[in-house]
Symmetry: C2
Subunit: 154 residues, 2 copies
């Protein structure tokens, strides 16, 4: 096990222990490479009355995928922060008939370098993030969100 694998496992445990609804959704972190985080959730507990993924589950998984990306990026750099979402827009583009897979990354024109420089200077930083649920040809759902990281008092 390397440090990154340990960090992913620790954060997944933290999410499942701290957020009962994440347990109900049966969330997991499928991968994280420093820039992109993939979160997964089986269709079963996240289904709606039409037999496809419940919109609330899609929004929750995409929001948590971005949140987990920011958390891990902070933890890797030794930054102890509260990370929270400020505003987000979800587009429900097509029904999701399979297990949910959400891929989160920084939005275009955003950078970790700027984010962590601001955090170092002000103890607080915000950035735009993007997440989508991939489909065969194009995304089935997308999220654009602003997340804030705020250093905890030592």
């Amino acid at each position: 096990m390397n440090d990154r694998t340990d960090a992913i496992t620790a954060l997944e445990t933290f999410i499942l222990n701290g957020i009962p609804l994440a347990r109900s959704m049966n969330l997991s972190i499928a991968s994280y490479d420093g820039d992109r985080l993939v979160m997964a959730a089986p269709l079963g507990p996240n289904i709606n009355d039409k037999g496809c993924a419940f919109g609330g589950s899609l929004a929750s998984v995409m929001t948590l995928a971005c949140w987990a990306l920011v958390e891990l990026a902070c933890r890797e750099r030794g930054e102890d922060c509260d990370v929270f979402v400020g505003e987000s827009t979800v587009r429900y583009l097509a029904p999701v008939w399979d297990d949910i897979r959400a891929e989160a990354c920084l939005a275009p024109h955003s950078s970790w370098k700027t984010f962590f420089a601001t955090l170092a200077a002000r103890g607080r930083a915000r950035s735009h993030f993007r997440c989508f649920v991939p489909g065969q040809a194009k995304p089935l759902a997308s999220l654009d969100a602003v997340f804030v990281a705020k250093r905890r008092a030592a």
Copy 2:
């Protein structure tokens, strides 16, 4: 029991039976008067690691409150429709430390009259809706969303 009370109870049962996550959230329809629908969910199953309401629960409850409003408005008029969300923006304005209460209504400049006239003419209509989680002085969270109703094939 009047017709509206029956309709509210029937829709609540439909939601809880059809959407496992709604059961996990312990959702209920607190009231509906034809123009405004209030959905409730206790904090317990919807808590996050910080001890306040999980953002995914807030987004889900506000989305479902609008969805239920449109469903009930359709059912009252004898319209058998698929109702779904197209796009939504959530603003997380302040932490929610209590049970969740979400109030949904038509957005300003939208009207049921136009909505149902369009549905009658085209078999499909869309409108803007707004939902918020009220706080002491101002909302703790808000949602602006577009919902679509589409007549089911007879």
